[in-house]
């Protein structure tokens, strides 16, 4: 089955495809960064527009809460903006943004999990966004099942599985994001798939609890 490919020309808002970067995409990113450095906020906003959906989705799988994922995505873009003058234009924007976001997500998981979505929304003085909408109830149920199993993996394994299986990043990209060698990522991915398979089949056989039973 064809993995989801994000092509801005066809699906505005989805962002560029990090898995097969074209010279044109990379060149356009570099041009946008240069414009943003000169104070062109529209250029920065285009960068946000290109990457925010993909970044937020990945973060959602890492932190398990769409509001937190949006917060962290926002913070990542803010840090990116503040570090624009130090950004090496020869580097690609995507991996850099993902690296910032993954570090922030890791940090959040270490210290902020105690706050509920509603509590955080109230602290911000806003109503929490309604739950993420799926087109079909069956799709949503299956997605929730998979997400529940995914959340049981230890963080380093969940991270590589999310980046590879859900975001479609190649091992080299994941290595760049996590600061690990490609060989390390390869074996970590193998272990992550093994763990997920065992948990998934245990779930199918009724050996582990349903998400609704956990609450």
């Amino acid at each position: 089955m064809e993995r989801e490919r994000l092509e801005p020309e066809v699906r505005p808002g989805d962002g560029p495809d990090l898995t097969a970067p074209s010279e044109r995409e990379a060149g356009h990113d570099a041009w946008l960064v240069e414009q943003a450095r000169r104070g062109d906020q529209a250029a920065f906003e285009e960068i946000v527009h290109r990457y925010e959906r993909r970044l937020t989705k990945a973060l959602y799988h890492l932190v398990g809460d769409i509001e937190v994922a949006r917060d962290i995505a926002q913070e990542s873009f803010l840090r990116f903006y503040q570090a624009l003058h130090r950004f090496d234009a020869s580097r690609r924007v995507g991996p850099w943004l993902f690296r910032i976001a993954v570090n922030l997500a890791t940090d959040w998981r270490r210290r902020g999990r105690h706050l509920s979505t509603r509590a955080r929304a109230q602290q911000r003085g806003v109503e929490p966004t309604s739950q993420v909408g799926y087109p079909e109830a069956d799709d949503r149920a299956l997605a929730e099942e998979v997400r529940h199993v995914l959340n049981q993996l230890p963080e380093p394994y969940r991270l590589v599985l999310v980046l590879r299986e859900l975001e479609g990043l190649p091992n080299s990209e994941i290595a760049a994001i996590t600061g690990r060698k490609e060989a390390t990522i390869r074996w970590r991915l193998a272990q992550a798939r093994q763990m997920f398979k065992e948990l998934w089949h245990a779930r199918l056989n009724g050996h582990i609890s349903h998400p609704k039973d956990d609450s």
Partner: protein, 203 residues
């Protein structure tokens, strides 16, 4: 045929590579060896089948994600860029009155100890007990009076700190300390990214 097919890999060796095979991460000789083994081993084939089922589940999640309705972060981001403020994902800890009181106690203790050391300096240097300890504009006749006097000062200072803590209006010096402490829980936007990145090294 090729020489590497003469010795088939063991099930154990193959199974370690099945998760890589199912994800398309095997190439060349490794891939051929694993595929050759799976073709002739029923148990490893079943194992591969399970990997394919779990991969399909993940694929289903990836496809569901395509329909996720995620509101843009741009409006909030624009607002934050216009008016810089502390991170919204910081840990919601404020500098508590108890911490301020503790800091005050430590400062007072340091003052008391310092005063006692000055009071009990060896005679002949002009400000020891024999020369008369001068505290608060008055001269203490004995070392005991000097200590009592400095203790009173310490208690008064401690009371001041407690009042400050309860009023929540620290002086400029205390504000600086408070801000420093808050930074421990706040995402420091001024920190270079390189300083932040090593967090992943703990993996």
């Amino acid at each position: 045929m090729f020489s590497f097919f003469r010795t088939q890999w063991t099930c154990r060796r193959v199974r370690r590579r099945l998760p890589l095979l199912v994800g398309g991460d095997l190439t060349g000789r490794e891939q051929l060896q694993v595929e050759a083994h799976v073709a002739s081993c029923e148990r490893c084939r079943q194992e591969l089948c399970q990997f394919e089922q779990s991969a399909a589940a993940l694929q289903a999640l990836a496809e569901s994600d395509a329909a996720l309705a995620i509101p843009s972060v741009l409006p909030e981001l624009r607002r934050r860029l216009a008016t810089p403020r502390p991170s919204s994902i910081r840990r919601e800890h404020s500098f508590s009155a108890a911490a301020l009181a503790l800091l005050g106690s430590l400062s007072v203790t340091a003052i008391v100890v310092g005063t006692m050391l000055v009071q009990w300096a060896p005679p002949g240097r002009g400000n020891g007990p024999s020369a008369g300890a001068e505290t608060g504009g008055k001269v203490a006749a004995t070392p005991t009076q000097a200590v009592q006097s400095s203790t009173r000062q310490a208690v008064a200072a401690q009371l001041d700190m407690a009042v400050l803590a309860s009023n929540g209006s620290p002086t400029s010096d205390e504000t600086a300390v408070s801000d420093q402490t808050q930074c421990r829980y706040t995402l420091d936007l001024a920190t270079p990214m390189d300083a932040y990145e090593p967090a992943l090294d703990e993996y």
